[in-house]
């Protein structure tokens, strides 16, 4: 029998690609159910106060209306069940504009939407707290212990003694995730069990939170989420709409489809908060950092706290004897903020990496040399050794590939026609973790043909989970990829980590590999033979004439993983062209060089990185959710107002992976790439804009008016 070549690490096409482009991959609303009714959420039109009266008389009489559910007739739910953002119709209190205040269920979506507009609500209004600029000075200490002030050494002294320093404030606006697939749920009850077809980055988390909210046991709730049309954090923790779909279906005793409209997305499923970050850096004349202070002020919901960890990059990126990381937060009448791609790191690195660029300029040092000069040999925040850290290599290889030597040190030195052209660099990082995940592997032999089914409640956000798990299992079992069937996205399967925080690939692939290794060992034991060269599971199935065999593991990170500090690192290079007359900016070229351990599939990995780069460019140049400070509503409610970059805004994108073997992080050496792709992009672009124009923009997004 000839060996099957290994496929892990090769750029095979997406396993689910054909199903997706032919429309055969079912997203949440596509699953067939019998006789569904359609629900639409009613939303508050004030940001703070109390509902006095809801007049639904006209709506109840509207054609097709089956039920109207408000706080007056909604069942009692557990508001602390784990769904985010409240708005579960449990009281008349209003805490933010666009809070869910009811559900209309009708025979068709159009009838439900029409009836929802016939409902009139009267409120006792209170003055909303929505103007961050006016409220920022009331910010308090966080309740979250991880956000307590983290101090090393004496930053005040170091700053007061330094000749070279930067003390600046950087602002990042509210952003929304806006996945192409808005949040949507089909709820179908069978007795006291409910099936929820609902995109979930954390399948088991969605199950337990919804069950607790509905006062059910987890096994009474099934989450089905085979495909996810983007999530970016907004489908990690789940929101009220998921439970309300179940409530509506129970109420009308029929399957119910509940989809959010694009306009409803802005105040239903979280947001990335507005961060005001002050960075203070001090350095010696030869470029050694002596102090790094990162002070973040932000907002959270009125009755719940979530704070992006903006100071995280500052904890691990650079070696400095004196450091201070702080957070302050002000509750406001806006929906609860949540995890958004590169949470804290992308926003935090914009501030840190812009400040590093500013200080390098003052020091008259090349910004790459300045970073390398301050490279820490251990994690400065906890003294642990790195499991691997390719930061310097990323910077150096990137500089070479990008043609960094062509950069002019002084801004406004590179004029091409009516454009200023500039280069920028920024360094990024994201922690690498493996989370407990179970996996079941089943082998079936028919004649000489052996096929595997791999099952776990993992999630594929469109990132390539199906593909990398097929590759991992094929190699571990000795099978061609077409004989491996990966089934994920269902809470009935063995429990798995979420596709969040860049833990998906490491957790899932290691679990699948562990299960395949265990299964092979069990087959060896079963054979009762001893082998000089261990056969594959596929070979054993044939030689031992076994027709069915299966095993399951509950996989955990290696015991000594915690002895190391594990992160992915990358260097980001941007070339921008800024129109001298109009201030319009185009990113001519962008390059990300990443050290993320083992790359399971270079094709899907590249897509992940350049996808992150595109969002980072959006963060840098176009994306902003704007609140009217009088009423607390978002005025940017559609994709015509909330600008993501278009093809015309970006030229060439390139991703390079460092060949990195990390022997400590986990068995397969996988560090994760989902988040790191976005982390340092905005700073690289902003630094390039400075290099082009001499204008330092510290407030994102860098729209034309800011560079005029």
């Amino acid at each position: 029998m000839k060996d099957i070549p290994k496929v892990t690490g090769t750029p095979i096409n997406r396993i689910d690609g054909i199903a997706k482009v032919t429309g055969k991959a079912p997203y949440s609303m596509d699953h067939p159910v019998k006789n569904p009714a359609y629900a639409i959420l009613i939303k508050s039109t004030i940001a703070s106060g109390k509902i006095q009266e809801i007049d639904a008389t006209a709506a109840e009489k509207a054609p097709g209306v089956i039920a109207i559910i408000t706080h007056q007739n909604a069942p009692k739910l557990n508001v602390k069940g784990g769904l985010r953002g409240g708005a579960l119709l449990q009281s008349p209190e209003i805490e933010f504009f666009g809070q869910h205040i009811g559900i209309v269920v009708a025979e068709t979506f159009e009838q439900a939407r029409y009836a929802s507009r016939l409902i009139t609500v009267t409120y006792d209004k209170k003055e909303p707290k929505v103007d961050f600029d006016n409220l920022a000075d009331q910010a308090r200490l966080p309740k979250d212990k991880e956000k307590a002030d983290a101090r090393r050494g004496d930053v005040q002294k170091a700053l007061s003694q330094a000749t070279y320093k930067v003390e600046e404030v950087y602002e990042t606006p509210i952003e929304h995730h806006h996945p192409m697939e808005p949040h949507a749920t089909i709820a179908e009850w069978n007795g006291d069990h409910v099936t929820l077809y609902n995109s979930a980055q954390i399948v088991n988390g969605a199950q337990t939170a919804t069950a607790a909210t509905l006062n059910l046991k987890p096994e009474q709730v099934r989450i089905v989420s085979p495909y996810i049309g983007g999530g970016f954090g907004s489908k990690g923790g789940q929101w009220a709409n998921l439970a309300l779909a179940a409530v509506a279906a129970k109420y009308v005793n029929r399957p119910v489809k509940l989809a959010l409209t694009r306009q409803q997305m802005v105040n239903s499923v979280g947001l990335r908060q507005h961060n005001r970050q002050k960075i203070s850096l001090a350095a010696t004349a030869d470029g050694k950092l002596t102090a790094l202070v990162h002070e973040t002020t932000t907002h959270c919901a009125i009755n719940d706290e979530f704070i992006e960890p903006c100071g995280d990059c500052s904890k691990v990126m650079y070696d400095t004897p004196n450091s201070l990381i702080t957070y302050r937060v002000v509750p406001m009448n806006l929906i609860l903020p949540t995890y958004t791609r590169g949470p804290g790191k992308s926003t935090g690195s914009f501030a840190l990496e812009s400040a590093m660029d500013e200080l390098a300029y003052k020091l008259k040092m090349d910004p790459i040399a300045f970073r390398i000069k301050n490279e820490p040999d251990r994690d400065p925040s906890n003294g642990k050794p790195w499991s691997s850290r390719a930061m310097v290599q990323c910077l150096q290889e990137g500089a070479k590939a990008f043609g960094w030597e062509n950069r002019k040190f002084e801004p406004r030195q590179n004029q091409q026609g009516n454009y200023w052209v500039g280069y920028g660099v920024a360094a990024g990082t994201y922690p690498a973790h493996q989370r407990p995940t179970s996996a079941l592997v089943k082998l079936k032999r028919t004649g000489d043909h052996v096929a595997a089914t791999v099952e776990l409640a993992a999630a594929d956000l469109g990132t390539g989970t199906y593909t990398i798990l097929t590759q991992t299992a094929a190699d571990a079992l000795g099978l061609p990829i077409q004989n491996v069937n990966v089934i994920i996205g269902d809470s009935d399967l063995p429990p798995a980590a979420g596709a969040v925080g860049s833990v998906g690939a490491a957790s899932y692939a290691n679990a699948v590999n562990d299960a395949c290794v265990k299964l092979t060992q069990e087959l060896v034991t079963k054979s009762g033979k001893q082998f000089f060269v261990r056969p594959t599971a596929a070979q054993l199935m044939r030689s031992e004439k076994i027709t069915d065999f299966q095993t399951r593991v509950d996989s955990k990170p290696p015991e000594r993983a915690e002895d190391y500090s594990s992160h992915s690192f990358n260097a980001n290079f941007a070339e921008v062209a800024v129109n001298k007359s109009t201030g319009m900016i185009r990113v001519n070229r962008f390059l990300a060089v990443t050290g993320a351990g083992t790359i399971l599939n270079p094709k899907t990995a590249r897509s992940q990185i350049i996808g992150g780069n595109v969002w980072g460019i959006g963060m840098a140049l176009t994306e902003e959710s704007v609140v009217d400070p009088r009423w607390g509503n978002f005025v940017t409610r559609s994709l015509a107002d909330y600008h993501v970059p278009t093809n015309l805004d970006i030229g060439q994108l390139d991703a390079i992976f460092i060949n990195e073997k990390d022997e400590h992080v986990n068995t397969l050496g996988v560090k994760g790439i989902g988040e790191v792709g976005i982390v340092a992009v905005a700073a690289a672009v902003a630094n390039a804009v400075f290099n082009a124009t001499g204008k330092r923009v510290r407030e994102l997004p860098i729209t034309p008016d800011k560079v005029l």
């Binding site: 306009q263 319009m584 185009r586 509503n633 559609s638 107002d641 015309l648 008016d705």
Partner: protein, 335 residues
């Protein structure tokens, strides 16, 4: 969306009759703006008269009449077809550029010429029914006047409305002195110079145009001109595609030697209608086509701007954009 009746019109006469009979009826052509607004409950017609299959999409030379030697664009011609038509590209490249600067390929494939002229403002307060808006609901107030108004007007606004008109196509048509040809319920044809077609908001911001209920745009006529060699449409926006203008400038020049014989400038993104920059034009005519002249012209026009809280940048941007558009026009569209 509220319930409405749908009728597919067989010919223009019956379409106009159906509409005239019902004050709450609307024509449906490409639907790229109207249907969005109906879904958002902003537009609430109780009847749609589908005119998309009427025979009004031809682009042809004008053989006689006031605009003899010019071209006529059918009211129901698709934006994509108009932008790419040989006659338009050869003789009115400014119009072609402006159309292609608007919306997206998909939208331009659906949107019609007449519909483009009648699209409504993208002011976010107009779009959200929970907000006050005098244009949507007269008497409720203007949400944007003291609200978020970065995208709003710097010319010609009133206390009742600070919205801007969104079309790119109409900005070019304004620079090119187009005429809008409409047919009324009584069968009469009316020619409206584009300068009289649009309105400033004044006390009646609910009225975008001077078109009367029951009138159908059958064609847009462009007079013959000598601007084809030296014209340019500049659109400044927050991203390079699928974004409304912060400021746009349609510039067209006729130059003999180095002397400007005729100049046409219209601006988008600055007012409730395409803003014809007459002061700038006056300064240009008879002068040499130099940067100094262009700057003087731009300064003269922008001196009258009255920015709001968040859009003061449009004054400087408008100034620079006029200069750049004129330079681009002189260079035949090349930087």
């Amino acid at each position: 969306m509220r319930a409405f009746t749908y009728t597919r019109a067989k010919d223009a006469t019956s379409a106009i009759k159906l509409l005239a009979e019902n004050p709450n009826a609307k024509f449906l052509a490409g639907g790229t703006n109207l249907l969005d607004l109906m879904k958002e409950d902003v537009e609430r017609p109780n009847a749609l008269i589908d005119i998309s299959e009427l025979d009004l999409s031809e682009i042809k030379p004008i053989i006689n009449g006031a605009n003899q030697g010019g071209i006529s664009l059918g009211g129901l011609g698709k934006n994509t077809d108009s932008a790419n038509h040989l006659l338009v590209r050869q003789h009115y490249p400014l119009l072609s550029q402006a159309i292609l600067a608007g919306a997206s390929g998909q939208i331009r494939n659906m949107a019609t010429n007449g519909g483009n002229l009648l699209q409504r403002t993208r002011c976010p307060y107009f779009y959200e029914v929970a907000m006050p808006c005098n244009k949507r609901e007269p008497g409720t107030g203007c949400g944007a006047r003291e609200g978020i108004n970065r995208m709003h007007a710097i010319f010609g606004w009133s206390e009742h409305c600070v919205a801007v008109y969104p079309s790119d196509m109409a900005v070019a048509l304004t620079a090119l002195d187009a005429t809008v040809i409409v047919r009324s319920a009584n069968g009469q044809q009316r020619s409206i110079p584009i300068a009289d077609f649009y309105r400033l908001p004044g006390n009646e911001p609910e009225k975008d145009t001077n078109l009367m209920h029951g009138e159908l745009i059958t064609a847009i006529e462009l007079p013959k001109n000598r601007f084809a060699e030296q014209s340019y449409y500049l659109k400044v926006r927050d991203r390079a595609s699928y974004a409304f203008a912060l400021v746009s400038v349609a510039a067209a020049l006729e130059i003999e030697g180095n002397t400007i014989k005729q100049a046409r400038i219209a601006m988008g993104g600055v007012a409730h209608k395409p803003w014809r920059a007459l002061k700038a034009e006056q300064i240009l005519v008879g002068k040499e086509a130099t940067e100094a002249t262009f700057k003087r012209a731009a300064n003269a026009e922008m001196a009258d701007a009255k920015p709001l809280t968040h859009n003061a940048f449009k004054v400087e941007l408008g100034n620079r954009s006029i200069v750049l558009a004129l330079q681009m026009a002189v260079n035949g569209g090349k930087a």
